[in-house]
């Protein structure tokens, strides 16, 4: 296979993925750290490299409204946002999934005000888990590019027809440069055929869409929407396999296990921090400790089976959350814990909340998490939720 690697940032990798996917309409509003993506897309349209209607919308709310409108006539669409902008879209996110419009969005994971912070954590997208979007979290720029292409294939599948959000950590991924393989356009065209949907307005077959439903019907619509999200699981696996066969890169579908075959103690994480965890796993493995990493790729649909399968095999699981559901625990932990509770076995669990507002999560901190998991397991402790490396005294 001919190699075509270029040195680009995560934001630029997303733009490359979008161009290769040939959307008809791009509507986006700039927000740090997503901005470079929309700048590059604008340049591609200007240069004629990408044939698309680029809409300079006046807000994120209009970005999602415009992409839904375009999708409702059968166009392939793209939007991108982050943080406050994603929250400003919140109404539209629910609207879009309910309308079954397979819009694809890039979200640059960024903290949420107040206090203001342009830096990364995952509170923005995780607070919108219930909006009905497929959510995937990527670990590097290559995966970001590849997942944009896969996202269209998954979202537009006739059994899915659900919008999809590709999340990449603000700055750590959006602004970091990596060597990224750019797929050949002809191969992407073969992998991703034009968008076809029965769910559109047309002059041949006029439709009224975005309608109201009575209490008699509403539950059935929501049931179908939920079924479509479950249908996405098979489509995600098949798409990953097809992608690997064509482009030679495999991401293992819903989750990726790293050194979990014989692991006793594992950490569960999303996104870029997985790279750091891998390094720590390698170090501890060299010291003879049976540790592993479960990289959750999809938060919706949630990898229940994969989490249960791993929980049956290990003794302790820790979850790193770059978010907090105030008054409870990290959202990833809640989801993982719910899956673990479905098996009839004691697993020591702990939730590590941190990395908020852009604070780095270090190798030393991750090593400390593994040590705490071993200690908790030995003492048969109750599960714990802790903010790690806190600079202030907690309330005792």
């Amino acid at each position: 296979m001919k190699s075509n690697k270029i040195f680009i940032s995560g934001d630029e990798a997303v733009a490359q993925g979008v161009k290769l996917s040939r959307p008809h309409v791009v509507a986006a509003y700039p927000i740090t750290p997503q901005t470079i993506t929309v700048e590059r897309l604008s340049e591609m349209v200007e240069a004629g490299e990408m044939v698309a209607e680029y809409m300079h919308v006046e807000s994120e709310h209009s970005a999602i409204s415009a992409t839904m409108g375009a999708s409702a006539v059968g166009a392939r669409t793209f939007t991108a946002s982050s943080s406050q902008g994603l929250l400003y879209m919140a109404e539209g996110l629910h609207y879009c999934s309910g309308g079954r419009w397979p819009v694809v969005m890039m979200n640059a994971n960024r903290s949420v005000a107040l206090p203001w912070s342009i830096y990364g954590d995952q509170r923005d997208s995780l607070s919108l888990l219930d909006s009905g979007w497929i959510q995937v979290y990527v670990e590097d720029a290559q995966e970001a590019l590849d997942m944009i292409i896969q996202a269209y294939k998954i979202a537009e599948h006739k059994d899915v027809l659900t919008p999809m959000m590709v999340n990449l950590d603000g700055f750590i991924l959006t602004h970091t440069y990596e060597l990224v393989e750019i797929p050949e356009q002809e191969m992407v065209d073969e992998f991703l055929p034009p968008f076809e949907t029965p769910n559109k307005m047309s002059f041949e077959n006029p439709k009224n869409l975005g309608f109201s439903s009575r209490p008699d019907d509403n539950t059935e619509f929501k049931y179908q929407q939920n079924e479509a999200m479950f249908n996405a699981i098979d489509v995600i696996h098949k798409t990953d396999e097809d992608f690997a066969a064509m482009f030679g890169r495999k991401y293992h579908g819903m989750v990726e296990e790293y050194m979990c075959e014989d692991a006793e103690v594992v950490l569960v994480a999303l996104g870029s921090v997985c790279g750091t965890v891998r390094v720590v796993v390698d170090k501890l493995r060299a010291e003879g400790k049976k540790v592993g990493l479960l990289k959750i790729r999809y938060m919706r649909p949630f990898p229940v089976q994969e989490v249960k399968d791993l929980a049956r095999r290990v003794k302790a699981m820790g979850v790193i959350d770059k978010d907090i559901s105030f008054g409870y625990e990290g959202t990833v932990y809640t989801n993982v814990n719910s899956a673990i509770s479905q098996i009839d076995k004691y697993v020591y669990k702990s939730n590590f909340v941190g990395g908020l507002g852009g604070r780095d999560i270090t190798k030393a901190e991750i090593e400390d998490m593994y040590n705490k998991l071993y200690a908790g397991l030995e003492n048969k402790s109750e599960e714990t939720v802790e903010f790690f490396s806190l600079n202030v005294e907690g309330n005792d």
């Binding site: 809409m55 409204s65 375009a70 009224n208 869409l209």
Partner: protein
Amino acid sequence: MTKVLDIPKVNAKNMTEKEFFYGHKACAGCGGSIAVRLALKVLGERTYSALPAGCMSAVGFIYPQMAFNSNAIITTFPGSASMAAGIAAGAKALGQKDFKTVVFAGDGGTADIGFQALSGMIDRNDDVLYICYDNEAYMNTGIQKSGLTPYGTKTTTTPAGQNIPGTVTHKKNLFEIIAAHDIAYAATASIGYPQDFINKVNKAKHVKGASFIHVYASCPTGWGTPTETSVEIAKDAVDCGLIFLAEYEDGEYKLNRNPKEFKSVEEYLKKQGRFKHMSDADIQCVIENRDKKWERMRKNWL
């Protein structure tokens, strides 16, 4: 822009027999539904309609009973202009030709919550006709004050009592705010003057880019008027000068109707439950505001 002379005239005689908004559950005498019905007859089959939350979407889209016989969609409340713009952009990108995208939004959906998206749509000059049917309050939720509710109006959020005489603000100058974007075509109309409204929709249909029509549409339920007087009262509003018929085209304002004498404002107000409580001083305030506006319009728009 297509020359006005080249546009085939549409009137009651040659208008299509086809109905595009039919079987809906709007109140008897609903002015908004008259505006939608007439506009869709002028725009024809190759039309995408976008309607935000509001009366016309509430009465037209109850699954499985759909009242639009052409393509139509309910939009987010603040996003009707942007969703319509997306429809137009998507259809264009797919190579579709000879179609029109139209928004039908109420006064609140236009002058309040939908204004940002509307301003963006005009700024981008998206190929959309935006029609605001103005019944002067949030009627779908049960008569609450909007930015286009006129001075003195009693609504459920501006009750008239001993301390506050109903609505204490005047209507926003929506038409001029829209024109200030330097839009290709904007107009005001009233369902009381249907041929004038039809002509304006017909003209806007042939604009390539953004266009806007602000049509005055009575609401017997919210106004406290008999259902059979809806057209008459919408005509009275123009004849007494509280509503004006005008256009903005090629950077120029044009006053379409300049009556020598106005009909009585007091009579117009006293016919409606929403104004019944108004004192002589309140009515005087309405008249003074009208006269100031007309003085300015006559000076600058004739």
